[in-house]
């Protein structure tokens, strides 16, 4: 019987299941992963504050899922690979090269928003410069597109790989089944990343599916399936790197399921006290917070001091504040622009 691989799932640890050198990463890489994770977190927190102040209409957060996103993006090649993120993927965006200013322009729906010129909702990421493809609000509809994007690369003889993300809730859709089956048959180079945070709004995983692991479905499609500790950035990096290497070698797609957690409500007007306990959430806000996990690993291995890490964090916050202040001052679109972009210009 084919089995899915499990990485970092046997025991709960404070740091990482994986040694950075064993997966080919340097001290500098680890500190860069840390920087990206705190930058994502600070941007996320500040963006929420801005929404609460009534300056933006809507906010949805990726807080708690940074290790999953950044570990995965770090194993890919921005500029060459394709990205079809889902709405929590602030970490993916920053890791592929989008700046806090880029993302802030989208939040404020400004004229120069690189995602869409103020047409898309916030968190519907897009960025032509980094091959980030915009998405539709109905969940998982980007999965079939990933199969097509990857096939196009393959057809042209390129070794670009396509990343596509979705929640465990989104894996209940037909798009998931059809997209995976299709990519498997055509051996399209796709990294299917299921960010399993255990809830689809208020609905717990056990009410969404009768299996323990979304990744187990990979068996039925004939592709490798991997379950990984999504709070462990190095473990996610490791399994993604392996999947990307396979895909570049022409061996087809992989389904990776990162077990993670969102430490905030579903969106700016969800009350998560109605469906989960504070104790459960608190675990992921403290010892199992992905940033705490990486910090612990760095300190355990003496890659940096507490002060150095605090400094990185402080700089990240300053970077974010600058970006939000700047973006707020940028020009708004004018009503006439509503008529643009219906048909492609000749």
């Amino acid at each position: 019987m084919i089995e899915i691989e499990r990485v970092g799932m046997d025991e709960v640890v404070a740091g990482s299941h994986v040694n950075h050198e064993a997966v080919g990463l340097t001290r500098e890489d680890v500190l860069e992963l840390f920087r990206l994770m705190v930058l994502t977190r600070r941007l996320d927190e500040r963006s929420e504050q801005v929404q609460r102040q009534g300056k933006t209409a809507f906010y949805i957060s990726g807080r708690g899922q940074e290790a999953t996103q950044i570990g995965c993006a770090y194993a890919m090649e921005p500029g060459k690979d394709w990205f079809l993120p889902y709405y929590r993927d602030f970490g993916i965006m920053l890791a592929v090269g989008a700046t806090p200013r880029d993302l802030a322009l989208a939040l404020f729906a400004k004229k120069d928003d690189p995602a869409s010129g103020a047409r898309q909702m916030p968190a519907h990421f897009g960025h032509r410069d980094y091959n980030v493809f915009t998405s539709s609000s109905p969940v998982s509809t980007q999965i079939p597109q990933a199969a097509g994007i990857a096939y196009a690369s393959k057809l042209r003889g390129e070794d670009a790989v396509c990343y596509v993300a979705f929640g465990e809730g989104g894996s209940s859709k037909g798009d998931f089944h059809e997209g995976l089956n299709f990519a498997a048959i055509w051996k399209s180079p796709v990294i299917f990343l299921c960010q399993n945070n255990r809830y689809a709004i208020s609905v717990g995983q056990e009410k969404q599916m009768a299996v323990e692991d979304v990744a187990s479905r990979a068996i039925g499609y004939g592709m490798p399936g991997v379950v990984v500790d999504g709070q462990d950035v190095l473990a996610v990096y490791k399994v993604t790197k392996e999947a990307v290497d396979r895909a570049r070698r022409g061996e087809g797609p992989t389904l990776i399921e990162a077990k993670t957690y969102r430490i905030v409500p579903h969106s700016s007007d969800d009350d998560d006290r109605l469906y989960r306990t504070r104790e459960e959430v608190d675990t992921y806000r403290t010892s199992q917070d992905p940033i705490v996990r990486l910090r612990t690993y760095i300190l355990e291995n003496e890659l940096a001091t507490d002060e150095e890490l605090d400094h990185i964090d402080k700089e990240a916050l300053a970077h974010v504040d600058e970006a939000l202040d700047w973006a707020e001052q940028q020009p708004d679109p004018v009503a006439e622009e509503a008529a643009l972009y219906v048909f492609a210009e000749a």
């Binding site: 009534g54 209409a57 809507f58 949805i60 729906a109 869409s116 103020a118 047409r119 898309q120 909702m121 916030p122 519907h124 539709s136 609000s137 109905p138 969940v139 998982s140 509809t141 809730g169 989104g170 209940s172 859709k173 037909g174 689809a200 709004i201 208020s202 609905v203 009410k207 969404q208 599916m209 579903h266 969106s267 700016s268 007007d269 969800d270 009350d271 109605l274 469906y275 708004d332 679109p333 004018v334 009503a335 006439e336 622009e337 509503a338 008529a339 972009y341 219906v342």
Partner: protein, 382 residues
Amino acid sequence: MAEEQEKVAEAEAEDVSAAAEADQEALPQEAQEASGESAPEAEQAEAVQTEQRERPNKMRMVDAINWAMIDEMRADEDVFLMGEEVAGGSGGTYGASRGMLEEFGERRIRNTPISEMVIGGAAVGAAMNGLKPIAEYMTANFAMLGMDAIVNHAAKIYSMFGGQFNVPVTYRMAATWSQNSATHSQTIEGWFAHVPGLKVVYPGTPKDAYGMLRAAIQDPDPVIFYESINLYYNRRLAEEIPADMAPIPLDRNVVKREGSDVTILTYGRMLSVCLGAAAKLEKEGISAEVVDMRVLRPLDLEPALASFKKTYRAVVATDDWRSVGMGAELAASLYEHGFDYLDAPIERVAQKEVPTPYNRTLELSAFPDEEDVINAVKKVIR
């Protein structure tokens, strides 16, 4: 934020045009709800506070829908509700199924996985096997993902089985726009109204919603029941609805405001907007008759036609895009049956033909408002 909006609304005069404005005021809050999130904070606070659920004296749109389902489920064991989040702690995404899990249990109030195709298809199956499912799509946009089940199965099975099986499903779906952007703001009632075998209704007042939802659930055929989130929490529209109110038959459109100079055909969210416009036009000496086209299929044109034979002029106002939408059908039907009475070309008020933009300025410029209706009326009157 929601409370502030309520206060703004409260402060406004007690007329319908204020209702239309309050509707606009309330939009930013709803933007968030429609993105697939749970009920607004005010809703939740209420839900936590009121243990004992009493039938509200005056019902808003969302209450009317809630109580129509409750009353129907009390009356008929075969009725059950399924959809995403319907059994959630706050009573569904918008609070429309509040208190229902507590009263009817998980057997009859069922959360589904995010599987729109199955919501559509399983409802058809359960209906053929004797139940009366209420299948909720979180928004009309997501019903697109269940289109095959609705259009190819629910609508056609009675015919394809030579009348041996009917499909008594009610597909409830909420339409809205309020910074939800391109794929989240669509109101595709015209898609459904195109299909023989489907009944399509789109109420614009709580009483109509209550009476028509009860009728829809009882109906032996599949009914597409449209709800406007933009109207859900509007207290201006709240009205008393007795538990023994008779269901409203699904074959009757009605005049909602009498007038003699021009006929306005509209439904759903735009009903309030048109009533507001009519009130303003009155002050300018123009008397507009507003016909609520709450039943879109099978289309009951009679009241509109009767009005048109009196005014000789008509405006059709919808939230939908102009081309090949419901507004086109309404205008064409009037031309067809009322040609001899025509004094001016029929004007259409509709959404700009662009994918709905997120930015508030762009969005507002795309959707029709009171002023657009007033301008259209003046054009046909001239």
